[in-house]
Amino acid sequence: MENQKALERIKNYSGRPVRIMEVCGTHTHAIFQYGIRQILPDTVHLISGPGCPVCVTETGYIDEAVCLAKKGAVITTFGDLVRVPGTEESLAGARAEGAKVRIVYSPLDALAYAKSHPEERVVFLAVGFETTAPASCLAVKKAKQEGVGNFWLLVANKTMDQAYRTLAGSADAFLYPGHVSAITGMGIYRELVREGISGAVCGFTSGEILTALAVILKRLQEGKPFAENCYPRVVTEEGSPAGRALIRETMEPCDAVWRGIGTIPCSGLRLNSGYRAFDAREAFDLPEMHSRPNPACRCGDVLMGRITPEQCPLFGKVCTPADPVGACMVSSEGTCSAYYKYSIR
């Protein structure tokens, strides 16, 4: 029922052409899985933005992780990062040559591993947005409380608010991420409205996505900037103050490099002075990386919505989920991977 009503509204959209950017990898995946692009009128364009933490991780970060692994650290990480190509090789490649790379489902699992293997030096690869950052913060806080001396983070966490400002010119409205918003609350979107940036927070069922799209189309026609919460069963106005407090307690903002986009000021996180002892870059004295992503890979243009994956010369030929070149094909939430898996060819 919910589907039908929203579907009709979207199909009957008669306004000017609009671009709507989803900035959450889970949305990208769901939109392909439900086949939502196919039912949109020609005037409504969906752009897959940089919302998958693996996809926006720059080559240099992979190079740092590989370097740490070769220095003898045990790398603990979420699974998808293992296959992302670095300049010379991926973590999977390093593992095949004998490096220790363990897949974990939570930073706390990594901490538990460190505690039960005191003879090893354990580094957790802390990537992800506001959703995953608090868990890394909690791990490092516990490590400090418990005096764990063989556990560090290689931090590349990012925050979304500055990214919206950078991407504002690429889209007329954002489909805001459901899980990130559960932490941030609606406050950041109210601020964006004052700067003329619009969007709607969206859940993940077909009904929730269609409803959010229908609301965005209606509000765009009204012509005033807006911030709508179309995922109220999970996202509250205030979000998760506890999650945000954990981030503030252990980390501080810094500039961050986003793959394909470049440096966005104040869009990254790093450990603050109270927790610097847990920074793998300092503890292992990591040198500066001189990284070179594959020049033919156009992940960056895909992330900015400038091209569709099929317009990349590597897509489906030398770059496939089984043998990926770019991060967008590696990650199960990546745009190229979703195109490859679900598009009728």
Partner: protein, 333 residues
Amino acid sequence: METVTLAHGAGGAQTSDLIASIFRSQFDNAYFTADDAAVLPAPSGRIAMTTDGFIVQPRFFPGGDVGRLSICGTVNDLACMGAKPQYLTCSFVIEEGFPLEELRRIVSSMGETAREAGVVIVAGDTKVAGKGQVDGLFITTTGVGELLPGVNLSGKNVKPGDAVIVTGDIGRHGCAILLARDEFGIEADVKSDDAPLWGAVQSVLDCTKEVRAFRDATRGGVGTVLYEIAKESGVGIRIDREKIPVDPAVGGVCGMLGLEPLYLACEGTMVCFAPMSQADGIVRILKNGKYTANAAVIGEVTEGPSGRVAVRTQIGAETLLPPPGGELLPRIC
């Protein structure tokens, strides 16, 4: 704790004791033999024969165990060909130090499942491997069944216009194993669908011989079966997402972990292909079965493109079913 030792596999007195105390009591039947081979009456028609190995971790899981699995797997492979399962042999490779009590429970489960499935276990073999050479216990079963007359089932028979039927809700075995390994810290009430299905297949074939193929959706799940059949028969397949029966708990776990239930293993669910005119009748019969109450028509066979499996989504759009690939769960069946 009593355990299996290398002496149990050496062929001497301990081997005889092991067979007598554990295997004979559970497998006892007129054909079970201490001779070198079982001597059996030959069926009158054609026979089907198959073999399968079983190395699941953990060995006991909600809804079943490796013993029950080792019977159902082979019985169901025979049933898929329209063959009434008759005789099984089983071969054990046991790791030195394996608890005898656990072996007894597994063998007891095999005996019970064989009786339920209407097959007799006529011969067996036991090898004991040194500590660390195998992981606990490997079971291989080989089965012979008698084909029902007038039945011709094959993955190559499927034609455009045929219905795609699943005999039950999908993905429960794979999901139960995933949860039993407790690697994700998720608790959900999911039991494996592990079950012998000859009764279900027979009831369908008793009613209509117009069935093109049965295939059990074990490793790789229903999705893999669809891709196999589309390729073997040179047809396309389109399934309807809303018609696929998925237990809510399985759906919930899949949602959390980003898994596609179509690619989770089943051990008591088959995919059946039959002319559309027969589909409703087949589903009606299956719905009366002990293990097939959730049977449903989930889609149809199309002209093609050959080998392509498409999904009609919740909102009426059509996408590709992502082809099988990547890492499947190791050691699930």
